[in-house]
Amino acid sequence: MSVIAPNFKFSEFVKSILDNAFWILLIFTLIGIPAVMLVLFYIEMPVINGELLTPFLALTWLADPSRTLPILKAFMTTDLFKIAAFPGFGFAALLAAGTIFIERKMLAKLQLRVGPFYCGKIEGILQLMGDGLKLISKEIIIPAKADKPIFWAAPVIFVATAAAFVALIPVAPGWVVADVDVGLLAVFAIIGFFPIITILSAWSSNSKFPFIGGIRALHQMVSFEIPLILSLLGVVILTGTLNLSEIVASQTHFPWIIFLPIGAIIFFITILAELERIPFDLPEAESEIVAGWLTEFSGMIYGLVQLGTYLKLYAFAALFVVLFLGGWTGPMIWPPFPEEIIKDGIVMGPIHAKIPGLPIFSQEMLNGVLWFVLKTVGVIFFILLPRGVFPRIRIDMLLSLGWYKLIGLAFVNIFIALGLLYAGVLGPGGIL
């Protein structure tokens, strides 16, 4: 018996939101708050108001609501928070999950179908969670003659490498996990890891189809790394720095895509190839080589590879935003935090509550994150779009595109950048 999608009803929509909110609250109270407590016991506590915050004091302060915000603010400056939550892994994973949801719904609309619908009640918003639970609960099957340690290690290293890539991305002024001076070189180094991981996992599974997929991935990634690096040299020439935060700061007036459109296009095409997305999904071409280098993965190993792939997608899209679209820069559209609340606190009838520690985030930072996320989502949309439009291309077409066309265009891009620099238009000491 087939199930027909019910008509949209506003009351049921509200009810489903309330339902989900209830469960989120329940899970947060039962698991989230104890977890926060545990973390508070283990992290290094900062000094607040000249007083070292011991875990005991933190708990007593938690009991006093007016002291909660300073503790939270202090916690947000720790490295643990930066790596695990905000500009690091958690933020990227959230955006990656959003990407998967958008990809499914957008592709469904393009192909005249509904997409995920039932799980989570609102437009299948919890489908990804269901998929994750399914992958975790499945058995992990390893081929009998596989090289087991490498086969196990490859997906983990894949996710770790993708997360390392994420750590280099500056999200807002000062909000970056690893603010290294040679940030772009570090990015190139990390991108160079991916083909090695791919060929390792493909070879270690000791199976024919993954092996062919791994060789294809190796060809594809290695030959597209060259135009990728060359296309970014234009930006480096014009900014004179390799630090990603400084590259963003140099684009406060105009993004580099205005002057280097060829470089941006080359970089976008190489992103598609590095991410193995259609039309460059040869390493996973299912009608030719089953699932390419992912064929022998099962259960959560496959889940890890998918997580790594989408983290990588976010990181590349974010890199495009940072280098060509001006990162967090943009007009100030975030409303300022009301001055009265900072000064007088909240006044509601008889209640006068003065809240110290406000605002938690500065206006510049929130505005920057907003612009960054908007631009990144836009780039991700354009990365996803070809999947609904193009068929897969062949390996010889791919290689000739990478070696002949893109590298040639990348040199044109470099000459444009050099011309702008020597004409004194842009760059250090330029008129703009």
Binding site: L107, L110, Q111, L112, R113, K208, F209, I212, I278, P279, D281, L282, A285, E286, S287, E288, I289, V290, R387, G388, V389, F390, P391, R392, I393, R394, I395, D396, M397
Partner: protein, 378 residues
């Protein structure tokens, strides 16, 4: 050990550079069959199609059932094209029994078989899309196919296995108001499939991928005995609806689409052009069809052949010429039923076409042969 082994069993000398791939039967790009591919790097050195995984013995089963009960199971090999695979059988039985089919039934048969050809071709096109990695082209035909399936359901009562054709006409008359609904849906369907050009047939990547791959010359196409869209894509104007018109096809204006290139692109485009031609034929048939009248000759409960008699009838199905050879004796069951299907004849060309191609071209060439594994195995 000096015994001479038959060629299939002889041990082959293994080259270090050559890797043997078993594509199928558990492979997303094979269908219900196996293709043994030997590759050297990215190039296919040899290819050996190995059908037979879904052999069901339909022909032998037909010898134990009488002429009428044969109908529902003889359509099983191609359930998407069930009217066309029954067509030659029904024509043959009519000749054996000496039945005269009413005019209206003949037109209904033509409409049903053209609708069914489109339904089959849409399914084939959907799979061709996903074989080339084009997921939109998988979803669109699969969805638009529903339009015609709804029509066939109104006509016959079943979505896929219709069992609509019977010796002496068709099983049921058309439902009231069918002509208007059919015309409207077919017009909309034609409008939809014309949109496929923008996303699929004019797509530069698709053209670059399928052009000049698996080229079958005109001479080879005739020599290897291919039929249907494969033959017409190689420049041979051979359409049984025009060459040997059956039922009322001679009264309709049938145009057969021919392309000269003989590559995968031409082979994939011909069925799409044929669908538009089918829409044309349906519109003509709806216009010329008698508005009322009988659709079926009354048969005796258990018809028998008159004596030892044999008849061969063939029609143009979605996959090319589809023949049915029936030998009858004076019994209610046929003595022998032999189906000669286009799928198997087109498969013969596969090893010739894949030799020297890249591995990435394998799905594009293989599925462009308009091959249906279940029909080939029967």
């Amino acid at each position: 050990m000096n015994k001479e082994l038959p060629p299939g069993l002889a041990l082959q000398k293994v080259d270090e550079r050559i890797m043997t791939l078993n594509v199928g039967p558990q492979h997303p790009g094979s269908g219900h069959m196996r293709i043994i591919v030997q590759i050297d790097g990215d190039f296919i050195v040899a290819c050996d199609p190995d059908p037979g995984y879904v052999h069901r013995g339909e022909e032998k089963m037909a010898e134990y059932r009488n002429y009428i009960t044969n109908i529902p199971h003889l359509e099983r090999p191609v359930i998407h094209d069930s009217c066309n695979i029954l067509y030659p059988y029904v024509l043959g039985v009519e000749e054996i029994l000496g039945l005269e089919v009413p005019e209206r039934a003949k037109y209904i048969r033509v409409i049903a078989s053209e609708l069914n050809r489109c339904v089959y071709t849409m399914y084939w096109l959907a799979i061709y899309g996903i074989f080339l990695g084009h997921s939109t082209m998988f979803m669109w035909p699969a969805g638009d196919r529903e339009l015609l399936i709804d029509l066939l359901e109104k006509m016959t009562g079943a979505r896929v296995t219709h069992a609509h054709f019977v010796p002496g006409g068709v099983r049921n008359d058309l439902p009231p108001n069918f002509e208007d609904v059919c015309l409207r849906q077919v017009n909309y369907f034609e409008k939809r499939i014309k949109e496929y050009a923008a996303v699929f047939y004019d797509n530069p990547i698709l053209i670059a991928r399928t052009e000049n791959t698996g080229v079958l010359s005109r001479e080879d196409a005739i020599r290897l005995g291919t039929t249907g869209s494969v033959l017409r894509a190689s420049g041979v104007d051979y359409d049984l609806r025009k060459k040997e018109p059956y039922d009322v096809y001679e009264e309709l204006d049938v145009h057969s689409n021919v392309m000269k290139e003989g590559d995968s692109y031409a082979r994939s485009k011909i069925p799409w052009l044929d669908m538009m031609e089918s829409c044309n034929i349906i519109r003509q048939a709806l216009q010329k069809m008698p508005k009322s009248g009988s659709v079926r000759v009354k048969l005796k409960p258990n018809p028998k052949g008159k004596g030892f008699d044999s008849v061969y009838k063939r029609v143009e199905s979605g996959r090319g010429s589809l023949g049915c050879y029936i030998v009858s004796d004076a019994k209610p069951e046929p003595y022998r039923v032999k189906l000669s299907v286009g799928s198997f004849r087109n498969l013969i060309a596969l090893p010739y076409l894949l030799k020297g191609e890249k591995l990435g071209n394998m799905p594009a060439v293989y599925w462009s042969l308009n091959y249906w594994p279940v029909e080939a195995d029967r």
